[in-house]
C-alpha cells in the first residue's frame, strides 16, 4: 500500500519529532559524557582538566553506590507491585454495577493530579509525623505507640506515597482494558460453572496482560527518576538514596559536576538495561 512517495513524505513528517528528540538526547548526553571525563568543580573554578576514568571509578567505589542501585530497584519494584495488584482489584470492582460510579471514579483519579512535592509534603507532615500526624493520632487512639514512619519504615513510606500517586493511573488503564473484555465469553464461562478465581486467572488476566505491560513500562520510566518524594521526606537518609538522588548529591550538594556526570552515565546504562528488558516484553505484547 505504501508508495515510494508516501514513504518519503512519512519520513519528512517524522523528521521534526525525531530530530528534536535526537537533539534533546544527544546534546545533554554528549555534554554529560564530556563532563564525566573532566575534573569539573564549579566552586573551585570550573574545568580543571581531563581525568580519564577517575570519576567513573570514584562513583562506583563510593559506599553509597550499590545501596543506591538497590534502593532504586526496591522503590520501582515496590510501587509497581502495589499499583498493579491494587489497580487490577480496583478496576475489577469499579467495573461492577453500582450507584455513583462516576463519583467514585472522580475520587479514585484525584491523586494523579497532585504535584509530587505537595503530595510528599502532605504525607510527611500531616499523616506520617510521629507527633502531630493523623496516623500518630490514630495509633494513640488505639493505645499503640505511634510509628515513626520515616525512620522505622523509610522505604515503605516512600513506596506508599508514590504508589498513592500512581495508583489512579494504573487503575484507569486497567479499567478501560477490562471494560473492553467480551462479556459473552465471561458469561459462557459463568454458565459452565467456572469459579470466580478460574475465570479471573484464565480469561481476565490474559486479556489484561497487554494493559499491565503498558502500565509497567510507562510507570517505570517515571519512577526511575522520582526525586521530590525523597527530597522532601528523608533527604536521602535512612537508605532511601536512589541513583537519581545520589547524582543530585554529587552534582548539587557536593558541586562535583564531573563525578555527577559519571553517575549520570551509569544511570543511563541502568535505565537502558531496564528498558531493554521491558521492551523485550512489551515488544512481544505490542504485536500480539
Amino acid at each position: 500500500m505504501a508508495t515510494q512517495h508516501s514513504r518519503s513524505a512519512a519520513r519528512a513528517m517524522m523528521a521534526p519529532a525525531v530530530v528534536l528528540l535526537l537533539g534533546w538526547m544527544l546534546i545533554p548526553l554528549g555534554m554529560t559524557l564530556y563532563f564525566s571525563f573532566k575534573k569539573y568543580l564549579p566552586l573551585r573554578g570550573g574545568d580543571l582538566g581531563w581525568v580519564g576514568f577517575e570519576n567513573y571509578e570514584r562513583f562506583v567505589s563510593s559506599s553509597a553506590f550499590w545501596p543506591s542501585v538497590q534502593a532504586t530497584l526496591i522503590i520501582v519494584g515496590g510501587v509497581l507491585a502495589i499499583t498493579v495488584t491494587l489497580g487490577i482489584l480496583f478496576a475489577l470492582l469499579l467495573d461492577q454495577p453500582m450507584w455513583g460510579q462516576g463519583v467514585v471514579r472522580i475520587l479514585v483519579i484525584a491523586p494523579f493530579f497532585v504535584m509530587p512535592t505537595v503530595s510528599a509534603l502532605v504525607w510527611k507532615n500531616m499523616f506520617m509525623d510521629p507527633n502531630n500526624g493523623l496516623f500518630a493520632h490514630l495509633w494513640r487512639f488505639f493505645g499503640a505507640d505511634p510509628v515513626v514512619w520515616l525512620t522505622e519504615a523509610p522505604l515503605f513510606s516512600i513506596v506508599l506515597i508514590v504508589s498513592w500517586q500512581w495508583l489512579p493511573f494504573a487503575t484507569l488503564i486497567l479499567l478501560t482494558a477490562i471494560q473492553s473484555l467480551d462479556g459473552e465469553q465471561l458469561e459462557a464461562a459463568e454458565m459452565d460453572g467456572a469459579p470466580t478465581i478460574k475465570r479471573f486467572w484464565y480469561i481476565i488476566l490474559p486479556h489484561l496482560s497487554r494493559a499491565i505491560t503498558i502500565v509497567i513500562l510507562i510507570q517505570t520510566i517515571f519512577l526511575l527518576s522520582i526525586f521530590a518524594e525523597i527530597f522532601v521526606t528523608t533527604g536521602g537518609a535512612f537508605g532511601t538514596k536512589t541513583l537519581t538522588y545520589l547524582i543530585y548529591q554529587r552534582v548539587l550538594e557536593s558541586q562535583n559536576v564531573g563525578l555527577g556526570s559519571a553517575g549520570g552515565v551509569y544511570a543511563i546504562i541502568l535505565a537502558n538495561i531496564v528498558a531493554i528488558f521491558l521492551m523485550r516484553i512489551v515488544g512481544k505484547n505490542l504485536d500480539a
Partner: protein, 276 residues
C-alpha cells in the same frame, strides 16, 4: 452487559467502592479541610473533621506573601503551551508511524521513550549553560520548549496508538478522492482522532503542570510557576499545617478541577493502546 445483578450485590459493590474511593481521596480532602482551620485546630488530638471555626485566614496570609495569580498564570501558559507545541510536532510523526510503518518504527518509538530515562539532575549544568547562551533563563518560552521535549515521547506514543486504530480504508478512500496529504491529515484523520488528541492533551497538561525539577531550576521571577510557589512553603517556622494546606490547595486546585471536569475525556482516551 446483560448480567443479572441482585440489589444486594450492587449494594455491597457500592459500599466497597465508595469506601475505597474515599480512602484514596482522603489525603486531599484532609488537606482542603485543614486549610480552613486555625493552626491550633490543625494539629488537635483527637482530630477535628468538620466542626471547627472555618476561616479564610490562611489563604489571606499565603496571598499576602506571594502573588498567587502570577504563579498560576505561568503554570497555565507553560503547561498548555508545551502541550500544544508538542502535539503539533507529534501529529505528523505519529501519522507516519501509524500509516506508513517501516521495520524501524517500533524501534524509533521505544527509543523515543527511552530518552525520558535520562536523569534530569545529571544534565542540569549543561542545560543551564545552554540556557544562559540562548538567553532563555527565567523565560516561559524556555520552559515551554523543555517541557515539550520532556513530554514529546509520551505524546507521540499516545497519538500513535490512537491513529493505529483508525481503519486504513478510510484514508484510502480519501486518497482516491484526490485528497492531498495535508488535507488527509487535517480533514480526515484529525477529526476522527479528536477524542484521542483530547485525552493526550489533558494527560500532558497534567504532567507539565506537575513537573517540578526544570520549572524550579530554570526560573526566578518572570516564569516561575506553582511548583516554585509551593517551594517557599515547604518548611515555614513553627506551626504551619494550616498554611501549608492552604498553599497546597491553591497549587493543586486548578488542575484538580480541570481534571474532574474533563475526566470522561481523559479516561476514555487513556489506554496507550492497551485495549485491543
Amino acid at each position: 452487559m446483560a448480567r443479572a445483578v441482585t440489589t444486594r450485590r450492587k449494594t455491597i459493590n457500592t459500599a466497597l467502592a465508595w469506601a475505597i474511593g474515599l480512602l484514596i481521596f482522603f489525603p486531599i480532602l484532609w488537606t482542603i479541610l485543614t486549610s480552613f482551620k486555625t493552626e491550633g485546630q490543625a494539629i488537635a488530638d483527637p482530630p477535628i473533621f468538620f466542626f471547627f471555626d472555618w476561616t479564610l485566614e490562611n489563604y489571606a496570609i499565603v496571598q499576602e506573601r506571594s502573588n498567587y495569580m502570577r504563579f498560576l498564570w505561568n503554570s497555565v501558559i507553560i503547561a498548555i503551551g508545551s502541550t500544544l507545541l508538542g502535539v503539533a510536532i507529534a501529529i505528523p510523526a505519529a501519522w507516519s508511524m501509524a500509516f506508513v510503518p517501516s521495520k524501524r518504527t517500533k524501534d524509533i518509538l521505544l527509543w523515543m521513550l527511552s530518552t525520558k530515562m535520562l536523569p534530569a539532575v545529571g544534565v542540569l549544568y549543561p542545560i543551564y549553560l545552554i540556557f544562559i547562551e540562548l538567553g532563555l533563563l527565567d523565560s516561559r518560552a524556555g520552559l515551554v520548549i523543555v517541557l515539550m521535549l520532556i513530554n514529546l515521547p509520551i505524546i507521540v506514543w499516545m497519538l500513535y496508538t490512537y491513529f493505529k486504530e483508525i481503519p486504513g480504508e478510510i484514508l484510502e478512500a480519501a486518497r482516491m478522492d484526490g485528497a492531498s496529504l495535508r488535507s488527509e491529515i487535517l480533514y480526515v484523520l484529525t477529526p476522527m482522532a479528536i477524542p484521542g488528541i483530547a485525552s493526550t492533551v489533558l494527560l500532558n497538561v497534567i504532567l507539565a503542570w506537575n513537573e517540578a525539577f526544570w520549572t524550579l531550576n530554570l526560573t526566578a521571577v518572570n516564569a516561575a510557576p506553582l511548583t516554585a510557589f509551593i517551594a517557599s512553603y515547604s518548611s515555614p517556622e513553627g506551626l504551619f499545617y494550616a498554611k501549608l494546606s492552604a498553599a497546597s490547595t491553591m497549587a493543586i486546585a486548578p488542575i484538580l478541577i480541570l481534571g474532574w471536569f474533563s475526566q470522561k475525556q481523559l479516561v476514555r482516551g487513556l489506554t496507550f493502546g492497551a485495549v485491543k
